[in-house]
Symmetry: none
Subunit: 210 residues, 4 copies
Amino acid sequence: MPKISDKQREGRRQQILEAALACFAENGFHQTGMADIVKRSGLSHGAVYLYFQSKDDLIEALADDRHRREAVLNSVAQGLGDPVEGLHALVRVYAQWLTDSAGEARRRVGIHGWAEALRNRRVRTSVVEGIEMPRALIVALVERGQHDRLIRRDIEADAIARVLVAIFQGFVLQKCWGEDFDVAACMSAVGSIIEGMRATKPDVKRRTRT
Amino acid sequence: MPKISDKQREGRRQQILEAALACFAENGFHQTGMADIVKRSGLSHGAVYLYFQSKDDLIEALADDRHRREAVLNSVAQGLGDPVEGLHALVRVYAQWLTDSAGEARRRVGIHGWAEALRNRRVRTSVVEGIEMPRALIVALVERGQHDRLIRRDIEADAIARVLVAIFQGFVLQKCWGEDFDVAACMSAVGSIIEGMRATKPDVKRRTRT
Amino acid sequence: MPKISDKQREGRRQQILEAALACFAENGFHQTGMADIVKRSGLSHGAVYLYFQSKDDLIEALADDRHRREAVLNSVAQGLGDPVEGLHALVRVYAQWLTDSAGEARRRVGIHGWAEALRNRRVRTSVVEGIEMPRALIVALVERGQHDRLIRRDIEADAIARVLVAIFQGFVLQKCWGEDFDVAACMSAVGSIIEGMRATKPDVKRRTRT
Amino acid sequence: MPKISDKQREGRRQQILEAALACFAENGFHQTGMADIVKRSGLSHGAVYLYFQSKDDLIEALADDRHRREAVLNSVAQGLGDPVEGLHALVRVYAQWLTDSAGEARRRVGIHGWAEALRNRRVRTSVVEGIEMPRALIVALVERGQHDRLIRRDIEADAIARVLVAIFQGFVLQKCWGEDFDVAACMSAVGSIIEGMRATKPDVKRRTRT
DNA sequence: TATGAATGAGACTTCATTCAT
DNA sequence: AATGAATGAAGTCTCATTCAT
């Protein structure tokens, strides 16, 4: 029975996804031909279509894949005691993801996905949900911090969350374009921003004044 | 061979670029056909190729166009007395650019350009130079501020510049994807961050002022 | 290698032929994929190829099948006393075959076979032999009728046979295309034509003249 | 201005249609590749798609073409004084069409079209309308003949019309399959059938004879 | 015997670009 | 200068058939 095992099946799937990832990272979705993916995967044309219905399906599978991986990333920063420490932890996780050389292809494909999201509804959904996760996480941390009087109350949690997400998006772009993007320094600056969010002791002073 | 006037020539060029911009904004570079641009421009295939050597040439021309427009944007924030006010002014200018409904197409094409920059050296150069301008401006402002003891000296000017640029890049993405991106609130958060950069020795100053 | 019984073998064969018949009736030979037949038969690709060498083999097997079934049809009209009654009987048999709702698929496949006969020699042979049977039968009946002075002698047996066969072919086409083909009325018209072939009494007169 | 004239345009269209006709006649619609048509037309792939949107469009254009030609055929038999002569005229016209050696390809494609009509709604419409024309014409002739007491009133005009149409359909099939189809003899048999429809004024004749 | 994953030639169609007019 | 018909390489995808298991 050449009905291959689920493990083998998944292996083939990954093989194709990896080939597609590498090709898309190099040339973008629309400048990559199925032939490129086929050749890189080491399989045949037909085999690829046995695992993915179409090129778009492949693109969407990669989008979903990314979505799933990011969920894991975010989980790292959850459940930490101090909200501000939670934010720092999140920054650290993303900094690491940004530095991981094996993730270069994934970051590049991510950028192509951002552009694709503008016209492909399914990709957009995946992307938007992808940023929704860290956004919600940050909002929760900030609001908890504000409730506990650890974070200044004059900043909107929603807005600061979008700002932090934007920072990482911009970092991905700048890192992928240039060779001289200093991740450590930039991350340190982000750390400063987070520190700047800490409630200053005036709370105490105000109380004393009152 | 009725050689047309330079003015007419430039008009035709703009006509084509506008058509291309609209098409690219809708469908991206590689999902837009020359036929789409030709139809939208109201000219003929031949005419378009009279003004642009190739589709890539058109893409690069738009990238350069963007580059030129951004130079104008940045000039607004130059020459202001107070560096921190300069930063705020820059934020305001970009906020307005982000809100301008007529610029939606340009923002979308910009995103496609970010992806294209990954594989097209000429586009990448244009994009990188494009962010180099505000970056350098911010660096200059911050360094002047630090020199004047108006801005904290524990943050790296280079890094904070990249952070601010990244924020705007991320905002463009989030704005183009979603319908519920609150520009004003986010900008206000950016304002807070800038305020957080102010040197905190008010005591001394107040004393001296008093 | 558990060799299955001949009975099982024949069962499988029929199972496949039935699936093929249904698929071909719906979509024609060349718009039906082997995958369709495989799915409908409930067997596997390999199994189908165990019973039929190729798709063409399947097509030809169905043509032969039809050939065999028609032989049975024709036998009904044989051995009747009155030749004219024989013709009427033949008409009745074909009318019934035309009305049989279970035969719809077979009629449709038949039409596809007529087209296929134009390029597939084996199918053509099968089809031509298929019409040869009723044609010869009609010729025999008419010639016997003419010999017995029951049928007018001014008509060629060969020609009238082709006409009758043609009528049924056309009826199959018209029935399969349209929903408003009135079989009974048309058959009645054919009956009139056959009646019109009866020798009129002039024979007697001629005799008297002689 | 290389905008070619309507005449040239129509010429190219015909060039392609002729190539398609020849290919389809040889191998049927689905066994003919666009490459075959392209090669035979002497044009390029792109050029063919400049005149026809798709292969299906080509098939449908040929179906419409046939439809139009048959309209001309039928017009021949219209406006004749004697209805029975009209029927004979119609038979003669179709007999000629059946014999015309240049029409062999058209007849073969017609058969493929009959099969295609089973699954392609547009083709079916074209085919059904195509037989509707002669059918209506025959019905009109027969009814006029019956009204004028020239044709027997015991036969249904509708039914006999379908019979005559069926005869020609069957003839086309038999002619295209076999090399020994005797058109003249068969047509003569059809003539006999039509003669058999004449009202037999037995009363008058018998009286005169008597 | 039976399975179904795999093959790869070939199907249809698009599209950036050219060039005769 | 301007046109738009024409090109043909390359794109995505299908499918009859095979063969390791």
